[in-house]
Amino acid sequence: MSVTGSITDEQVELLINDVLEQHGYDFTGYSRASLKRRVSRLYSLDKHLSFAEFRYKTLNDNVYFKHFVEGVTVNVTEMFRDPVFYKLLRTKILPSLNTYPFIRIWLAGCSTGEEAYSIAIILKELNLLQKSLIYATDINPTVLEKAANGMFPLSQMKSYSENYIASGGTKDFSSYYSANYNLAKFDAELKHKMIFSTHNLVSDGSFNEFQLILCRNVLIYFDRPLQFSVLRLFDQSLESLGYLALGTKETIDFSPISNTYKRIGTDKIWRKVSA
């Protein structure tokens, strides 16, 4: 029996199958406890009258299905989250990429773009932005539209500004955006060096070679086999001596790629040491 919301384990499996067969989105490798919470949450938020109705709409209504993908994936993010991590990017990782004529960065699972703008700000302050390109991808087209708008709630700016300072930023954070009603619109210059695109880590392949890949707090939603397959995808997409950055609670230890990577200090950044 199940009590997390009103959705049962069996109903979660039905939806996973439907979504795979009808829409080609493969959630079979997602951790179930989290996925079930997301599905239950969506079911009650959208006030469906029955599971049958929920299932029918998810299966047949393409507009609703977009909303379903947005709802079951976690899109919580912030600017300069984990300031210590961004400090390492600022002081060590990004400056070491200065030797390349052109810097390619892949931000996988970028959600609404807060991390992409954070990285662009650091690149700009290091005078590297002009020769950089940030590929920001997500499974979810709706969040990419938001990311491309570059507008975030003004109410968040105080905490983002504190994060920015804690990460080693010395400028006036508010110089990067203009307030527009309750939104902060970030400078177009930052966005100029970003490419937003849908990419499904489960089913899509490598699309370029990068010197830095960031994928933070995405792997936690995947089971071990899917985590390993995504790490192999990153390995195929990373140049020799490139860097891979994961979330605070994620690791490449015990994975098939761990032998060819060297961890940078105690942080969740690894360097590819041999091909």
């Binding site: 009590v3 997390t4 406890a33 919470r37």
Partner: protein, 190 residues
């Protein structure tokens, strides 16, 4: 009752003192895990783990994602992530929206533990100033688990255990000095 599968303890303001009194009295031979979800500020992770591990002979560690949950171990929910329990008795972490202004949320861990452990689950809600955990206790009880609340008379902040007693129809109300004995009595090995 069924053999205990896990004891999950949640708390907020005023709960750390309770843990520091109770955990040293827990028999190191218990044949189930203890999983702890405490609201606290971001950062200072290892601090809480260190603090607790100095007071007990049981193994204390912060829960890692995909880690198998072992008997006789005390697991602490990391700060700023929800801690979930999978059907195969491994942990998952989740960085989704805060629940009851909290991440980790006690409700999330109690509810997923209720799914995983069913009638082998024991949940204990301690001192605190919001109602996070109360819905989780309701889920745990609905699935046949045992639900416990700290006696509000012994709580530094009474709101959380009071809400548990009021809304979740808990199985038992425990004073601080009764908790360790109760938890030890759930074990078949002494």
């Amino acid at each position: 009752m069924k053999k205990c599968g896990a004891v999950v303890i949640g708390g907020s303001a005023g709960s750390l003192d309770v843990l520091l009194k109770v955990l040293p009295e827990i028999n190191p031979k218990i044949d189930f895990p203890i999983i702890i979800v405490i609201h606290r500020k971001q950062g200072a992770d290892s601090l809480l783990t260190d603090l607790i591990s100095h007071r007990t002979n049981l193994k204390v560690k912060e829960a890692d994602e995909k880690e198998s949950i072992l008997n006789g171990c005390i697991y602490i929910a990391p700060s700023d992530y929800h801690l979930l329990i999978e059907r195969d008795f491994t942990f998952s972490l989740d960085y989704s929206e805060k629940i009851n202004y909290s991440r980790p949320s006690i409700d999330v861990t109690f509810q997923t533990a209720a799914d995983a452990y069913g009638d082998k689950l024991v949940c204990l809600l301690l001192s605190g100033s919001n109602a996070d955990g109360v819905n989780g206790l309701i889920s745990a009880k609905k699935n046949g688990g045992i639900t416990l609340a700290q006696d509000p008379d012994t709580a530094q902040v009474t709101y959380m255990p009071e809400q548990a007693i009021l809304k979740a129809n808990v199985s038992l109300v425990l004073k601080i000095d009764q908790m360790a004995d109760y938890i030890n009595s759930l074990s078949e090995t002494h």
